[in-house]
């Protein structure tokens, strides 16, 4: 097995009496697409929010490239190289696609506490934004206001924002949710292209997409890891079948 880029050791988080994430131990390997699936309320989103620093863990730890980052806030994790996308595309209202990506690309500056030179006159920022624009396939829509984009385009832009921060690990929270068939195909295609050069953690409902993209799959049920394996192993697992019985086709 390759060296893990991100490791969770006994990670837990409760909401009142509910154990949303219960002693999860997992390793995500560098260079792979690793999907996390599970029925509604299994704790997938909570897990992702713990990894990206949006939520604070009650117990256990998270290690990114060997460093303990359990208590790091979201902005620090992003600077370390963990980028995340959000479930509901959270485009920045009032900004165009290009401006949005340039803002994300500003993260390559040591600090954005710069007050005089306009942001479009930083060559390295421009280059990064341009690259991300291409990678998320939005070059043609660069001057469109983010809120005027179609839902699928907003998702692409969302992924582009993550890419512009040059992450080593991408946490993607249901990138296909709510998309039509054609839009979903475009995003899957985009993810496949990104996966060539990046490590992806994918939380997703769409099983077809998961099994076509992922090299490893973890099934989460009631906050606990039910099983981890290759797509073929997961498909064949009786326990997984049982957990999903009557809910979704495995």
């Amino acid at each position: 097995m390759a060296e893990p880029i991100l490791e969770l050791r006994g990670l837990s988080r409760r909401f009142g009496a509910l154990r949303a994430v219960d002693k999860v131990t997992l390793a995500f390997e560098r260079g792979r697409v690793h999907a996390v699936i599970g029925p509604n309320g299994a704790g997938k989103s909570t897990l992702l929010n713990l990894l990206s620093g949006e939520l604070r863990a009650d117990g256990g730890s998270v290690h990114f490239r060997g460093e303990d980052v359990t208590r790091a806030p979201p902005d620090r994790l992003s600077r370390l190289g963990i980028g995340r996308s959000f479930q509901t595309a959270t485009v920045l209202e009032g900004l165009t696609c290009e401006e949005t990506l340039r803002l994300a690309a500003q993260s390559c500056l040591r600090s954005s506490m710069r007050f005089f030179r306009p942001s479009d006159r930083y060559p390295e920022v421009n280059a990064r934004a341009e690259r991300a624009l291409g990678e998320c396939r939005m070059t043609a829509r660069r001057s469109a206001r983010a809120k005027d984009l179609s839902y699928g385009e907003q998702r692409q832009l969302e992924i582009g924002m993550v890419l512009a921060t040059s992450p080593q690990l991408l946490l993607l929270d249901e990138p296909l949710a709510g998309l039509g068939h054609d839009e979903a195909l475009a995003v899957v295609d985009l993810l496949r292209a990104i996966a060539v050069e990046h490590t992806l953690v994918l939380v997703e409902h769409d099983m077809d997409a998961v099994f076509s993209l992922a090299a490893a799959v973890t099934v989460l049920v009631n906050g606990k890891v039910l099983e981890t394996g290759t797509p073929a192993q997961i498909r064949a697992s009786p326990a997984v079948r049982e957990a999903y019985l009557g809910e979704e086709e495995p």
């Binding site: 959270t90 920045l92 500003q106 993260s107 710069r114 030179r117």
Partner: protein
């Protein structure tokens, strides 16, 4: 003409008109527009918070007032009249206060933020109106207006109305360019991101709390510039300038003009100046008139007068 060109033309015409007033030199208009320009500086500094960082602060008048009081203190107690000394010191006082109040207030969010800023403003207001060492509720005079002289020859005398007017004009132009430049720089883009969605911006790697605090301090310092100029223009400071009602009035100015555009609050400041100057004569119930205008603007012109200017281009 695009909306942007129209705005630029408007601003240039306005600047020329303001300069023409200086050339004519009628003292009444010098004073009226001098005050209006001070309100402009004050308003655009608040717009940095309200329109760009999404922070509705009721503490803004405090920085205006603190800087004015700082000037009064430096002049009256320490006999400092040189603006090269008093201006930076007054601005530093405003910025320092903004740093302290901002650091404490920004721990709260949304409505709580509005209320904490209100609380600090009230505290300062009572401090200045009740405590014996700030001149009390009736206010303080400047014993002398700022005067810059080299080798005994006066270079800049803010006691001279035309000089004061031109100085205020220059301060407005500089503040405007400083802020518009700031908003296009990386710092300003992060603020735009925060206004769009703070959580998302934070996930992009920006420590949003630090950016908001920095914006709060910068806005406080620019408000301090306005307060300094006000004290210098009238030679008089009063605790009422620190109160939350002043902050409220300023919020009204920003909203009336159009937040999130720097020229909007400038339009708003001039509009309100005229409304107050002429509206007061039309009716005995002018505050009801202002109340009605505010309600109508909130309901039907959410983007203020600036929204009208921009829409004019498309329609």
């Amino acid at each position: 003409m695009t909306a942007r060109q129209r705005v630029q033309a408007l601003l240039c015409a306005g600047a020329l008109a303001l300069l023409a007033v200086a050339a004519v030199g009628d003292r009444f208009w010098l004073q009226l527009f001098g005050k209006a320009m001070i309100t402009c500086i004050f308003a655009i500094s608040l717009d940095l918070l309200v329109g760009y960082a999404g922070l509705v602060s009721l503490a803004h008048a405090a920085f205006f007032g603190l800087s004015a009081y700082a000037l009064a203190g430096l002049t009256n107690r320490l006999q400092l009249v040189n603006p090269l000394l008093t201006l930076p010191l007054a601005l530093a006082a405003a910025a320092l206060a903004a740093l302290c109040i901002g650091w404490l207030s920004l721990r709260a969010a949304g409505v709580y933020f509005i209320m904490v800023t209100l609380a600090f403003t009230q505290m300062l207001f009572y401090l200045f109106s009740e405590a014996p060492w700030f001149g009390g509720s009736d206010g303080l005079y400047l014993s002398q207006k700022p005067l810059l002289s080299i080798l005994g020859r006066p270079l800049l005398d803010l006691g001279n109305r035309t000089a004061a007017y031109l100085f205020i004009f220059a301060a407005l132009v500089l503040s405007y360019f400083f802020l518009s430049r700031l908003l296009r720089a990386p710092f300003g883009r992060v603020l735009a991101g925060i206004r769009g969605n703070e959580q998302r911006t934070r996930a992009l790697g920006f420590s949003t709390a630090r950016y908001k605090l920095t914006a709060f301090v910068i806005a406080g310092a620019v408000a301090g510039l306005a307060g300094y100029l006000d004290a210098a223009l009238y030679g008089f400071v009063n605790p009422a300038e620190l109160g939350w009602r002043q902050s409220g009035l300023l919020l009204m100015t920003v909203l009336l003009g159009g937040r999130g555009t720097l020229y909007g609050p400038i339009l708003g400041a001039f509009l309100l100046t005229f409304l107050e100057h002429y509206g007061a004569r039309l009716t005995d119930h002018s505050s009801a008139l202002i109340g009605a205008v505010v309600i109508l603007v909130v309901l039907f012109l959410p983007r203020g007068v600036a929204g009208l200017v921009e829409r004019g281009g498309r329609g």
